[in-house]
């Protein structure tokens, strides 16, 4: 193993990234050193690239960014027994304390002491990465690394879909970005009776069709709430998966949800959202779940069960591949929105 590696680094608290040569990190006694094979760009990475308000508040610098990956274990720390060199792995990016009430009661995904891989601790847009052994998830060798690296966002989609019943129900996915597209596939694989995808971008709506959506709504040209009702015999959808974060889409989505329906909020609004709580939530008897991360590790078992059995196929989602040194081009493409998942091949 050479003593240095190339890594994509946020150096300064302003726009842009740098490709730098860094020492290969050392695995502590409970850690695992991984040679990264594939990594993928998340919307979060674009926020860090552009350096917006959220990034300013949340990101530690300098830091190697990136949190979605698959790779091969290169070395393990002295106390690690559950993972071995040569294992083909990915990892949960939330590094949690393990001792707080959230961690100890099945809610580690919202541990208030979380350190975030690629955000507050060094990540995976690099030749090598270090993660705690507790966070390692073993991959099926039949899944290529450019798909295995997508398990982190797939977990967001799965947690959203599986926060309640889905079988035989009508489901709307609002926002057909990568997680929304995955949610279409997951909802279909879990027995939703109809999957409706909404977005304002026709490229993404076509991808939604490929990923399993039964009906499409371009919410730039159609009134979302009315179309949702029209597609469900006037009742509204039984499950709303909100993945856009846009205030109008949230309001229209709630309006188009049936009484006693379920709503998963995953898209992140960047400002306050005014809601008519009485009409939209209370009198309808809706249930609304805030979704972040992946349940540790219930969601991962669901992810692996769906992916490794072939119940869902993510391959149409990977539209572009780059080397790490092509990062400017890759981020420019993600910024355009005219892509599915953009993957770095290491």
């Amino acid at each position: 193993m050479s003593a240095t590696m190339m890594a994509l680094v946020k150096e300064n608290r302003s726009s842009g990234l740098s490709l730098k040569q860094l020492p290969i990190p050392q695995a502590g006694p409970n850690d695992v050193l991984i040679k990264v094979r594939s990594s993928s760009i998340c919307g979060t990475d674009l926020h860090i690239y552009k350096w917006d308000e959220w990034a300013e508040s949340a990101v530690v610098t300098p830091n190697v960014i990136g949190h979605e990956f698959a790779g091969i274990v290169e070395a393990v720390g002295s106390d690690v027994t559950s993972v071995r060199p040569g294992d083909y792995v990915s990892a949960e990016g939330h590094v949690v304390c393990g001792v707080c009430r959230a961690c100890r009661s099945g809610n580690a995904h919202v541990c208030p002491n979380t350190r975030s891989f690629g955000i507050t601790i060094p990540g995976c847009f690099a030749e090598y990465a270090v993660v705690p052994a507790t966070n390692i998830v073993r991959n099926d060798p039949r899944i290529p690394s450019e798909l295995a690296c997508l398990q982190d966002p797939l977990g967001n989609a799965v947690q959203s879909v599986m926060a309640g019943d889905i079988t035989g129900k009508s489901v709307a996915v609002i926002g057909a970005g990568p997680i929304g597209l995955m949610a279409c596939a997951v909802a279909k694989a879990c027995g939703a009776s109809s999957v409706i995808a909404a977005d304002i971008n026709d490229f993404r709506l076509r991808m939604a069709k490929t990923m399993g959506a039964d009906a499409l709504i371009n919410s730039a040209t159609e009134k979302l709430s009315e179309r949702l009702k029209a597609l469900t015999g006037g009742e509204g959808v039984e499950v709303l998966l909100e993945m856009s974060g846009h205030p109008d889409a949230i309001r229209e989505g709630l309006e188009g949800t049936a009484n006693a329906g379920r709503v998963a909020l995953l898209g992140i609004p960047t400002r306050g959202v005014e809601l008519d709580l009485s009409r939209s939530i209370i009198f309808k008897g809706l249930r609304v779940d805030g979704i972040t991360g992946r349940r540790m590790y219930t969601t991962w078992f669901q992810v692996k069960g769906l992916l490794e059995s072939g119940r869902i196929d993510l391959s149409p989602l990977v539209t572009h591949r780059f080397r790490l040194d092509q990062y400017e081009e890759a981020f420019e493409l993600v910024r355009s929105g005219n892509c599915g998942k953009v993957v770095f091949t290491h």
Copy 2:
């Protein structure tokens, strides 16, 4: 049975009520005629009295108002077999269609075809009332009618408390009106480890103490979110029961709720509420349930189980009693807020 009765009627679509002599209503083939013994004034009745925007949109006139009652069955329709004259009963006030998806899947409380007793069909502030036999709930003779008539709002409290786990958890009740006060008693009876009540009215906070609250917050003088955290070791409450409908209270309550917490929204905001969904709900992984009515009839069985076993005692809640012809005085008192439940003795 005399041919006429006295009834409290909303005649005109403006403020006020009238006490009128009306024919005693007839029970249809599937209905039950009840001689009302006790009825109680709900916040909804005050809205109808004052005739605000909600009342204008929701209430049919002319109509006998009132929906909380207990009484004795006087007569039953020709097809009724489940109820008999002489039975001591109360009733669910949502008269539902029984055939829609909501009704047929355990969500009749949000049936879109609901007719509402005392709002869109004649109610119980009268000597006699008619309800469908399907809506009748039999009362234990040991429960006096002035407490049995409270089962409708008690059901709101019970549905809110029981929408998720409560045992061993910290619970905040925001808004110590009658339903909030009942929620304090219910949460305590169901094993909440601490019950925190918040209001801006000291009279009601004292009543909350009587009904079982372990800690009180006057949110006019104390910052609600900070006190909720201070009372829970910095974590925030695990269960938030929002019964005020006030936008600031909702925002402060969410801020004072722990990660992975549960929120029941029952209080009805009269205008839009701006929320920081990302910070308040999504990143925290909260679950928010809109609560309306009572689950038909799961909630009623819980209500009866708690009330008839003595696990909760509602008697301190009934602070004032009136005859129907004293209605002006009764409504004035409810308007002041310096009371618990106000009951009509028929």
Copy 3:
């Protein structure tokens, strides 16, 4: 409408059935008269034909038997508003009281006052049948009647599969009779990661493969518990759907279930079953659900959502079709076990 019809009747409390000419039944005020288009033979019907101990204890005679059907509404009672002549319908066969605790708390499928269509009240192996309007379920015209009549047993399968989480989990179906075969399709459509079918009949195992099973076990020649473990990396299956009712299969199935697994018991043992509760259930922390009928009507909505969306395809399951007057041949075939579903075309 002619005044008489042909019907398959259990006349005497002994083996056999009779095809008889009977008056067309009348719909009461709350009932619906249906012209039956297709009906199908259930294992229960074979028990009635053969007249075993269960039949002696449960069946009323004389009675028209049969409870799985689809047809066209011919007439409705005077008080019926939710169904119209010409509607294409099937029906839930449990006619329940509607007023007991079970009925009023979402458990009507175990109402202690149930009357059973085709068992204790007249059924559907006839040209016409009468059912209460409350029990009617409307069919999608795109579903042919020979598949729509299968919704009753499909509901048994769906209730079993959906009694808990299934997504991404390993599932074993023990007993590949018609309901077991349907359960294979349902589990697959709901995202099970692997579906394992076990039976002692190779014809049925081949059908299980057609219906979606990923792995097959002939439990006459292979040790069931060992094979279940071998197919799941030594852990055992996460979900066991017991549809054989055979004591050895139940014991072996429990032995082959993973810790914290879920078991649905649907197959009906005809005698006592000795279980090592400590080892099989308690120390494993299993959850075991007794399954009967269909949840009214949550299960029906799931059934329709899966069937009408094409998520599951039952057409390979219908292997034989007969006229009602060929009933001897039809029952003989069912008795042999070398068939899928056997349907009467009326």
Copy 4:
């Protein structure tokens, strides 16, 4: 700290125990050394004392026995940050692997790689004990150690009660040993409408009354199923907590459970139990949960919430106190059954 300590040891694989002088154990890097203040005798300890079939199959010798305790942290291992010397603590006795599917999906209590404190690894009937830091639970200083040491069995009771809804429901506790007695208190504190306790020992039935039971059944002289139905208006109990492990009690308890009821099996039958699954579980639509250990650590939070808030009071349960060198007398008393909890004061 002296270099040796007194400990109660199972030396030989036959009846009896020995009080021996042993070296004080060392805490490994992730462990905690505790000075034990109070410990209590579990039924399991009696099995080990008597050395029955279960003990022969499960216990490692020689071993310090005992697993229920409270004490003060004396020292912590080099990598421990979550616990400090001087902390007042108890501990979960299941030492689990943390990496298997059960551990990673909220089911660590049935981890197949569990090592058991006081059974397969050294326990707490000693002056000092070592446990992994992950297993430590911090105690409220207001709870005396002779009650804090009871949290382990209290957790069994809480897991049984809280495996499903309890509020407003009728609950039967079959077997009024220490865990059954605790279950009476817990069910009452969680809003059960009636708590029925059954046993064959009148001393224990009187204790059940003290702990909150509303009705008592001596099942040696009364027919359990009939009494359960008589006490519930003929319906049967809605929740059955089976804590006797006796085959007849299990059968009678199931017979006395209402349709759609819930059953928790915690008592350990020592031989096969023949059940009429069709009649007892399937046609009734019962749910049966096997209960072992405590959910890690959801149950512990419920335990602490109930205990520290005073919702339940365990003090009447501690009937006898001994020094460790009085162990023969203490075990003799437990064997007699005429006691509540028997505590060692260290």
